[in-house]
């Protein structure tokens, strides 16, 4: 941890970066995102198992960009998001300094997106067996029962959009849900609107989501929306091969192969 603090200090002192995005103490025993602009504040940085928020979400936010060039504390899920943002041309290597944190809490510096990819090759996204089992269980239900199951699961959603705000890949300045000409999705918490919202959210993340679970962690109602994106990751793998961001490779749904196979088009 000392390593990280020293590095952050020196980056701010030398004015290499103007802000350090990291984890600090939150309320009660929680941690929160902190934005440090002065070297003497860097002692507030901490890193432990409670630091699950995906900080990459701040890299595309106006308020943060406004502060200047950032250095960002980046455990594996954050590294994946950074790489995905790079693939989507949302970040340049010169835009930021990455303070990678290995699973052993060691500081790793990356000088290129390629280096991140190389490192992540040893940490491929893997869907937990327990989630796979849940998804299989849902898929085994008769169609009406499955529909009823999801309508009930999605009913508590009150459209706070915390899931969207927490997702590093939901960076559009204007989201389809805010569009009211036409009103694609009813703004009220309505059974049909909730369903439409979650279909839209999942579809817009199809082939992009890096399975960080920030959306699920942010949801105040504990709605298992991560099951949707996890299931879509499985679908990507089944139909289009291994998933995960890769420099120079386009997103699943921004590319195609003339030989893509399906079995349902007549």
């Amino acid at each position: 941890m000392n390593e990280l603090i020293q590095k952050a200090k020196s980056l701010l002192e030398s004015d290499t970066v103007q802000v350090v995005i990291g984890y600090g103490k939150g309320s009660a025993d929680k941690t929160r995102a902190i934005f440090l602009t002065k070297p003497e504040d860097c002692d507030q940085l901490l890193f432990d198992s409670r630091c699950v928020q995906n900080l990459a979400v701040y890299l595309t936010k106006h308020e943060i960009k406004h502060l200047g060039k950032p250095a960002i504390v980046a455990p594996i899920p954050v590294l994946r998001s950074i790489l995905q943002l790079a693939v989507e041309n949302q970040l340049k290597e010169s835009d930021l300094v990455i303070l990678g944190v290995s699973p052993e809490s060691k500081l790793i510096e990356f000088d290129s997106f390629g280096a991140i990819e190389l490192f992540l090759n040893a940490y491929k996204i893997q869907i937990d067996e327990k989630y796979k089992a849940t998804i299989d269980k849902i898929k085994a239900m008769p169609v009406s029962e499955r529909f009823a199951f999801w309508i009930k699961e999605l009913e508590p959603c009150f459209k706070c959009y915390a899931c969207r705000a927490a997702c590093p890949l939901c960076y559009c300045p204007k989201c389809t849900v805010e569009n009211n000409q036409p009103q694609w999705i009813p703004a009220a918490s309505h059974l049909l609107g909730n369903l439409e919202w979650h279909v839209m959210r999942a579809m817009h993340l199809a082939g992009r989501c890096t399975d960080c679970e920030a959306c699920y962690n942010a949801c105040p109602m504990g709605i298992p929306i991560h099951l949707l994106t996890k299931s879509m990751l499985q679908d990507v793998e089944e139909h289009f091969g291994p998933y995960g961001p890769s420099v120079g490779k386009r997103n699943t749904l921004s590319s195609f192969n003339p030989d893509d196979k399906e079995s349902f088009i007549r």
Binding site: I135, F149, L192, S255
Partner: protein, 148 residues
């Protein structure tokens, strides 16, 4: 009791299926009247949200159709669309939205007879499945509550 007449919405591309459906007409081929055709510039333009809107407005079945692979007027619109349909279908299936009610097809401008067949078989299949009450209940649940 009168027989259930399925309401079908067809989202088709301008260059192939729409022209194909036109040929069905000019060839005087008779086919089921249950379908409302909506013309798009390309299958790549058929936003998945439109399919949800069709179900939300009371469609019992949907047809999505465009140019055969390699025949797209814009070269690759249908290839992109195909990938999106594969992902969309998987998501709908997980959510319990009845994917049997959505028929995808490639119908070229020369395939007037195939269009008639796609519509007829879809109508038959949806007639067997019955009205899409599961979705209608969710779409109209506020009205239902107001009526009791």
């Amino acid at each position: 009791m009168t027989e259930f007449e399925p309401k079908i919405v067809a989202f088709v591309c301008n260059w192939c299926t729409y022209a194909g459906a036109d040929l069905t007409g000019t060839s005087r081929i008779k086919y089921a009247q249950n379908v409302k055709i909506i013309r798009f510039p390309c299958t790549g333009r058929i936003d998945f949200m439109l399919l949800l809107k069709a179900f939300g407005e009371g469609a019992d079945g949907i047809i999505v159709s465009g140019c055969h692979p390699n025949d797209c007027h814009y070269t690759s619109g249908n290839f992109h669309a195909r990938r999106r349909w594969i992902m969309f279908r998987g998501l709908l299936d997980l959510l319990g939205i009845d994917v049997r009610r959505i028929q995808y097809s490639w119908v070229s401008a020369a395939e007037g007879a195939k269009w008639a067949d796609v519509v007829n078989t879809t109508v038959t299949a949806i007639r067997e499945l019955g009205p899409y009450t599961d979705y209608a209940k969710v779409a109209n649940y506020l009205e239902k509550e107001a009526n009791v």
